[in-house]
Symmetry: C2
Subunit: 682 residues, 2 copies
């Protein structure tokens, strides 16, 4: 029963103390307390109450709807921007082809265009907000878990939303969806703060801010894929650490408004006239109404399950490869600055080269034809011209989202060898891109890699007489690949259904994603969790997901605690304000716990002192009215499992541990649990 803390938990301990190396200049990562502070003062002022007037409640729901509207509008803007930039880029190349320019000139112009676009994206990350890099999902997930990262700043929104427009238009193997989720989350935080300013009592506590962020994130998914239900489920499955029926409704409203906004703006693009909703043309991954979706046969199920297995392996491989690369980047490139900018520019140039050169070299092809998908894409016809060489080589120069559409829907078979080559090249480049200093989502690259895999297997199964079209194998493969990487299941299945309008293949998709997740989990964590850990974020998993030892909480707690008496001298108060602690246990003369006093409340008390405060004896301040008297505590003989469940479920920041007679014995925080978890895992 001796005090073993820190003995063998050094790895994570080091990690935690090195959290200052994370982007931003926070000297250490702090946690957020989602618990309601119920001191006598607060209770009498009514600031701790959870009820709201009708006006306050309406204001809150209106704000939620506005988050959806804003997120949908930003997403539509990004969509239009990407379309415009991509069309311009291809348009320039096309006019050069028409003008009879040589391949060398084409390659050079292509290089310059792609690198410049990627450079703008990288500039926004490296010189405006380092938190705009990557997908943003790990950051939002951490914030929702109660880790106080500065990830929801308006500055980051600008860098992220503008940045993703350029990184996707640059032809990088990345998607817009992660950044859209992050943008939505920031919108949520913004509107929550605006609402509080408008009517201070309409939103209360950290909880409401958190739930607004979750709703905004869901709206981001909804707007990225036109998938309102998928957005809600993604927030539930991957994003939010806290969930209740109220949050479900808020998130659903926010998602629905975002999807409606997107549908309204994009409906206009698709020539059916502004105001047309529910048009099949706006489905992100193309509609199967006009194409060849049919039923499938029970004997094809093992192939779909095999896709799940391979998708899981692919995802695990992606995650495993990305770790050393990310570590290398953290050591040698850093989170911001010129070095990171240069890396992004160089990598973008190399990727642009890789995507255009092999098709040119192969069989001495030359650029002749432009094939029409949603955007224009360049397709490179070979001599001797063969149709499937043509469309397969075209994939190299097609924007990723459109390439997914082609693989899902094209009834013509692709050239298997070239398709496999494309898949491998794309997979490698996507892995290289993730972690680069540009806003970059992972959904689309992972879906595309899986779509290639599915198409290959589908075409192979067709030689023995598959019933399902190869495009459907592609769809199942895409789902499996993303599930293998991100370890999401039901939300992904719904996103695919909403983005294709096809519910017929829901059962194969569900089996594929469940199996891909199970297979991936054998090897490593999901990519978002990996990046959370790489960034040394003190993230607390659901207590159903972690394996805790049967140790007593007394072996885990911090024993050196600065505590206060219920009547305390001003000197002691000012001394404690110098420390870095964020809450102090208040005890009586016998050392028995009375409750917790938070630093911010203490600061208020110290500021207002000595006037207006009841003082007991000379220079002593009566703290009782300010103490959170009923705060949760745990007995020292409770297991860590039990303490963790309480801490995690209630969203606490500090949990005092008491012994017999209510005597304060120590305190447990997020980090004590994480150290214990590391020790257990050893």
């Amino acid at each position: 029963m001796s005090f073993e803390r820190g003995q063998d938990g050094t790895t994570l301990l080091e990690s935690l103390s090195s959290a200052s190396r994370a982007p931003g200049n926070s000297s250490s990562v702090e946690s957020i307390d989602f618990d309601v502070y119920e001191s006598q003062t607060n209770l009498s002022k009514g600031t701790s109450r959870t009820g709201r007037t009708v006006l306050q409640s309406s204001l809150k729901w209106m704000a939620i709807a506005l988050v959806g509207l804003a997120t949908g509008s930003v997403a539509s803007g990004i969509d239009y921007g990407i379309e415009f930039l991509t069309k311009s880029r291809f348009g320039l190349i096309k006019s050069l082809i028409n003008a009879g320019c040589s391949s060398t000139v084409l390659v050079l112009v292509h290089l310059v265009l792609c690198t410049s676009l990627a450079g703008i994206a990288a500039g926004l990350v490296c010189f405006v907000s380092p938190y705009a890099a990557g997908s943003g999902i790990p950051e939002v997930k951490s914030r929702l878990n109660g880790v106080d990262l500065p990830v929801v700043a308006p500055r980051t929104l600008v860098a992220k939303a503008c940045g993703v427009l350029f990184s996707v238009s640059a032809g990088l193997p990345c998607g817009k969806e992660g950044p859209m989720i992050h943008s939505g989350a920031i919108m949520g935080a913004l509107f929550a703060r605006l609402t509080t300013r408008l009517e201070p009592h309409s939103l209360l506590h950290e909880m409401d801010l958190r739930d607004f962020i979750a709703a905004g994130g869901a709206a981001g998914v909804a707007a990225a894929f036109g998938a309102p239900v998928g957005g809600v489920l993604f927030a539930l499955e991957e994003g939010a650490s806290f969930w209740n029926p109220q949050v479900l409704l808020q998130t659903l409203l926010c998602s629905s408004v975002a999807a409606l906004t997107l549908n309204l703006f994009l409906g206009g693009v698709d020539s059916s006239g502004f105001g047309t909703l529910g048009a099949l043309g706006v489905l992100t991954f193309g509609s199967y109404f006009e194409s060849n979706a049919t039923s499938y046969h029970i004997w094809e199920l093992p192939f779909f399950i095999a896709l799940g297995i391979v998708g899981g392996l692919m995802g695990a491989a992606f995650n495993a490869l990305n770790v050393p690369l990310s570590l290398w980047r953290m050591r040698n490139v850093g989170a911001a600055g010129v070095k990171r900018f240069c890396e992004a520019a160089v990598v973008a140039a190399i990727i642009a080269l890789i995507f255009i050169v092999p098709p040119l070299l192969l069989n001495s092809c030359y650029v002749t034809d432009v094939k029409q998908y949603k955007h224009d894409s360049l397709s490179i016809t070979c001599v001797p011209s063969e149709h499937h060489y043509d469309s397969t080589l075209g994939l190299f120069m097609t924007p990723s989202e459109d390439a997914i559409k082609v693989l899902f829907h094209d009834p013509e078979p692709f050239h298997s060898g070239l398709l496999m080559m494309f898949g491998l090249v794309y997979f490698a480049l996507a892995c290289w891109t993730y972690g680069l200093g540009v806003p970059s989502g992972l959904f689309v690259p992972s879906l595309l890699s899986g779509a290639v895999l599915g198409r290959l297997i589908g075409q192979a199964v067709h030689t023995v007489g598959a019933v399902a079209p190869a495009g459907m194998y592609s769809m199942v493969g895409a789902a499996a690949s993303l599930a293998g990487m991100a370890r999401i299941t039901v939300s992904l299945a719904v996103i695919i259904v909403e983005a294709t309008g096809n519910t017929q293949y829901i059962i194969p998709i569900l089996f594929a994603v469940m199996i891909a997740k199970a297979v991936g989990d054998l090897f490593n964590e999901g990519i978002y969790d990996i990046h959370i850990h790489l960034k040394h974020v003190p993230f607390l998993e659901s207590d159903a997901k972690v394996q805790l030892c049967n140790e007593k909480v007394s072996k885990v707690m911090t024993r050196q605690v600065e505590s206060l008496r219920s009547a305390e001298s001003l000197e002691r108060l000012s001394f404690l304000m110098q420390t870095s602690h964020n809450a102090f246990p208040v005890v009586d003369g016998t050392g028995s716990l009375l409750g917790m006093l938070s630093r911010s409340v203490l600061a208020d008390v110290a500021r207002e002192c000595p006037e207006g405060l009841e003082t007991e004896g000379p220079e002593a301040v009566d703290l009782k009215p300010y103490v959170n008297l009923g705060s949760y505590s745990i007995h020292e003989s409770a297991t860590v499992r039990r303490a963790y469940a309480l801490f995690r479920s209630m969203g606490l920041r500090h949990l005092p541990v008491v012994g017999h007679g209510g005597i304060l014995k120590g305190i447990v925080t997020r980090r004590d649990f994480l150290e214990h978890l590391t020790r257990c895992a050893v």
Copy 2:
């Protein structure tokens, strides 16, 4: 701060003490403790651990899949049975028509057939298991909340699964989905118990049993509508009180297997040959691939929203009307026995009469034609024959599920007057039916009432040039009506999408269900919650949903507590075993709380006494090794809100309240909270 318990909480208190009048012969309704019991003995034996070996884990997942398989098979059996019985019923009438029988004979035969079928269903409820009545959703929901109702007995499964086959075939305005959910939940409980018998350590605690029941319930929805994702969401939104990522995956697997099983069995029916999956023909509410789904215009959105409002009002009216009827039934009919049987038979006869007589009387019609839907249904052609009279009158004699299909898909307009008459009659009869002594689901009747409403509004909007087909208005109306009654949102939207294969109208559906829920909530609770309260079930809502006063928990707790010393005499132990309490706080000499000792553990101790036990002093038993030492407790100065959150989140059965120095002050249970809630609401 005086002890006010029971002063004005009498209404609910009476309700609670009269819970013995609920079906079954439990003398009082007990709660379930989902918390892990961590005494020294348990910890050293390892029976409290949450980890599992690979074998135990595989066994658990296999059992979950088997629950899905069994639920899917039972659901397929019910589907086949309903099809067979309905076809036989119509077939007999048809042959009588062909033989030239008079209308009187037809009506009489119809009456006898319907009443006999309903009689079988009622017999199973009244004489086999009273818990088989109604939808079963309130019962399953209560069980998942931690109320120990005997609702998951195998006997109930037989009565429910067989019963619903007959009640639906009898042409009653009820559906099969509620009973399928209940059947699935019972399957979950059965397989959980089987698994525990096979390998005692593979499933642990009440938690696993609970999660198996939730998964089974989800599989029931999945099998009822071919909606695997809808099933998971229904369990999440309406069924389960406890949820975590692990439960999500289990539920998803169970649902997917159930949907696959159903798809496999039903695929064979639809002439495409056994083994065909994903065929559009098996979609519960018909596919829009072959029909006329198109996009809609933004100006139609207000009409969809209006459907949401009217749907909400309709649902609230249904619920309001059902309350006095249910109370009357509880007082005058009872939960089982001959009275209840007779009521069911009489009501079934009247309903059968109402459905056949008006079409016969109207415009001196006579039965001439039989129109083909999925099942055959009788359509009554009038003189002079007009097409829309024909198809509108046909609705009266069409099985409810097929009537929904017709309203969703028929491109021909219906006769508005007759349609409205049908809607009103059907709505009234559905309300009369719910609570009758037969297994009867509410989804289908509510969807059908809403489909009529939607079709009426859709046809009206078409006179001013609607873009969306009237069938789509019907679909949105159906969703709104069910949301107004059951107050479910996202799960319902997904069920509709999965049951029609149409994602185009997801946004109008989402808005309609959100608005219907909001409107309905202005008037009363959802129908399942109403029935939970009518049955006096001590149900604990999520703490986000209840409005708790700012009272201290000390005003709510029970002060008279039978407590134990850590070393206690055998006499005292045997005395306490005579009481009805299910756990006892253990205190030391000063009255300071050590932990909780459960009745079952105490019983074991008493049984094994005196041999093998450490005894302290003459006749004293050392209880310490058996006490759940770290059990949660709450400080008396904590608010009720805080205590409720802890109690509800952790699934506790008893929460000891301590004062300063850890002195035991009282205990709070489910009923103390419920009394407080009633008092707050006054």
